[in-house]
């Protein structure tokens, strides 16, 4: 009755990804300590950290590539430690070149589509949007960095994932590739997808909804502005000229 009077209540938005108390140890070294965060539909959650901070380890755990020591990770309600069903909803772009080196770009798209049980009809629109037409017959080992990353993104999106996991999605490659990738990502987010994007250059913080700052295996979540300010502060304090500037 009350509902009728007040109008239907909006159901709270459920997170696509829920990470709680995640720990990862490799040998004696703790790579991730008590990491917790959530990612919601339409959100681009950035994971910032310098080299060796555990970004790649975290992305690989979320993608189900590596196992973790303790804690829990749920993707669309699936506990990733217990089932692999969540993999039909995820896409992965790795930092290292991980496409099949013995295949051409087109063969990679076909093969990965088959591995993901994705329809072949998903391939042409991605090829068009990421301008890959001219490279389909080129072995991936011969692709330039920008084209390779466009292809990696196309492969990751073949199954129309709900959660895109991207490790260093953009590095120092050509501006055209950068634009195409960012356009594709924006469209993907508009369509309700979510993204976890690890990055090590603060220039991308502005593209994120929130930024998880990973340091010594621990994560602290900031707004993009707060993350930028913290970075600027760190830069100032670590600059060899900082003493003179303050003086």
């Amino acid at each position: 009755m009350g509902e009728t009077e007040q109008g239907p209540k909006e159901a709270p938005v459920q997170p696509l990804l829920r990470v709680a108390s995640l720990q990862q140890r490799i040998g004696r070294r703790a790579v991730l300590r008590n990491v917790s965060f959530e990612v919601f539909p339409g959100e681009c959650f950035g994971i910032f950290g310098l080299a060796g901070s555990g970004k790649t380890a975290l992305i690989h755990i979320l993608a189900g590539v590596d196992r973790f020591t303790s804690g829990s990770v749920e993707i669309l309600g699936h506990d990733i430690g217990k089932t692999e069903k969540f993999k039909q909803y995820t896409g992965l772009v790795t930092q290292k070149r991980s496409l099949f080196q013995d295949l051409t770009a087109g063969e990679n798209l076909d093969f990965i589509a088959a591995l993901k049980n994705a329809g072949r009809e998903a391939i042409p629109p991605l090829v068009e949007r990421l301008a890959l037409e001219d490279y389909l017959k080129t072995p991936v080992s011969r692709l330039e960095a920008g084209v390779y990353q466009r292809l990696s993104l196309a492969c990751a999106l073949l199954n129309e994932p709900r959660l895109l996991l991207a490790d260093e999605l953009i590095t120092g490659f050509d501006l055209n590739s950068r634009r195409l990738i960012l356009d594709e990502l924006a469209g993907y987010l508009e369509r309700g997808g979510a993204c976890v994007w690890s990055f090590s250059s603060m220039e991308f913080a502005g593209l994120m909804s929130r930024v998880g700052w990973l340091e010594n295996g621990e994560i602290t979540v900031y707004s993009p502005q707060a993350a930028g300010e913290k970075w600027n502060e760190l830069e100032r304090s670590s600059s060899p000229l900082s003493g003179e500037a303050h003086a």
């Binding site: 690989h60 590539v65 993999k87 992965l92 991980s98 088959a114 591995l115 049980n117 492969c155």
Partner: protein, 379 residues
């Protein structure tokens, strides 16, 4: 699921084909092997064994002996050195394998029907040559010895028929079965070619697991959620089909062109080979499941593939090996395969025995695959 499996199989075929080194090894390795071994053993038996004769007597009788040696089927007189030392030098330098020394008093003793000694030496450094040379010499000495004995009996007034009977008291007939001419080609060509084939197969199978898990593209496979069982079953199926395809031309050459004996029937031989191919694949898969790199996996694979032929008992009987080695030898599928090839292709030893051998190889394969699965699940 089927689409995934077919895609994995298609990619594996492409991978095997595009890896030029692997392709050449698989397609040409055993073929070149069988052609090479056929060329080597085309003489089939060792004839014209180089022989040096030192005739210190130089009498009519000694010349008759030299003629006897000259007419021997498998000996060829290549030199008539002046002295024992000269003959010794020839054997040392490999110019002669057999040396015959006829003493100064040979003719005189033969005339007097006394016992006479003729020295025949054989270069034992090459065991195959030495064995053949000894057999050839034995044939000559038997004939010459019998002839001299009959002559001695005749001189003592024994009638010819009685003298001949005395030397044929026990008539032992030698009858080599399954390989009447003791043909080396029958015995060795197919086995050596199959040995190369199994080594190539092992090398390929050694890439089965580490060839995926050791590459960065393993992350794509893991992220796609393809089960390890499905992945490696699909890949393994391709490998085993390729192994069988590559053995077909070897068998074709062996049985159709070189006319090696095949008494068990071709389908039975193929079935027997298929079980061995699976067993070899299981060993490679096991190696690749715990190796830290593709190179390590190949090294482990070769550690098994290289000595397995020698251990198989094909060239040296298992019964003659130390007892403690028997369980090790029997744990190799190669032992059952190469012994089986001998028993079935040459002798058609029957389905009962073949089934037993195939079950043992299948059991070895099951153990290796199970161990590999354990290592893969922990990785």
């Amino acid at each position: 699921m089927l689409r995934q499996s077919l895609a994995i199989m298609g990619r594996e075929v492409r991978y095997l084909w595009r890896d030029r080194g692997l392709r050449h090894i698989l397609l040409l390795g055993s073929l070149v092997g069988i052609l090479l071994f056929w060329g080597i053993y085309s003489a089939q038996v060792l004839k014209e064994i180089p022989t040096a004769v030192v005739d210190l007597d130089r009498t009519k009788q000694s010349r008759e002996l030299v003629d006897g040696i000259r007419n021997a089927e498998y000996l060829k007189i290549v030199a008539v050195p002046e002295s024992f030392q000269a003959m010794e030098e020839m054997i040392k330098k490999g110019r002669a394998v057999v040396g015959v020394v006829i003493q100064e008093d040979y003719g005189k003793k033969v005339s007097l029907h006394r016992q006479v000694r003729v020295l025949m030496v054989v270069d034992g450094s090459n065991i195959i040559y030495a064995t053949n040379a000894s057999t050839a010499i034995l044939t000559v000495t038997r004939t010459i010895g019998a002839r001299a004995g009959i002559a001695a009996l005749l001189a003592r007034g024994v009638p010819l028929s009685q003298a001949e009977d005395a030397y044929r008291g026990v008539d032992i007939e030698e009858e080599p079965w399954f390989n009447p001419t003791l043909n080396y080609a029958y015995f060795l060509v197919l086995a050596l070619a199959l040995n190369i084939w199994q080594q190539c197969c092992t090398l390929t199978a050694c890439m089965n697991v580490i060839g995926e898990t050791g590459l960065d593209s393993w992350r794509q496979i893991r992220a796609a959620g393809v089960s390890k069982l499905q992945l490696f079953l699909s890949k393994s199926l391709v490998h085993i089909i390729v192994f069988m395809i590559t053995v077909l031309p070897v068998y074709l050459l062996a049985f159709q062109v070189f006319k090696l004996p095949l008494r068990c029937g071709f389908p039975a031989l193929l079935l027997f080979t298929l079980v061995f191919a699976v067993a070899v694949h299981s060993i490679g898969t096991l190696m690749s499941s715990f190796a830290r790199s593709a190179v390590d996996s190949s090294r482990f694979g070769m550690l098994v593939a290289l000595p397995s032929f020698v251990l198989s008992g094909y060239t040296w009987p298992v019964e003659a090996m130390p007892r403690w080695l028997h369980p090790v030898v029997k744990a190799f599928p190669h032992t059952w395969f190469f012994q089986g090839i001998n028993c079935f292709a040459f002798k058609n030893a029957g389905w009962g025995m073949m089934t037993q051998y195939m079950l043992i190889m299948a059991a070895i394969a099951a153990c290796c695959y199970a161990l590999a699965a354990l290592f893969i699940s922990r990785s």
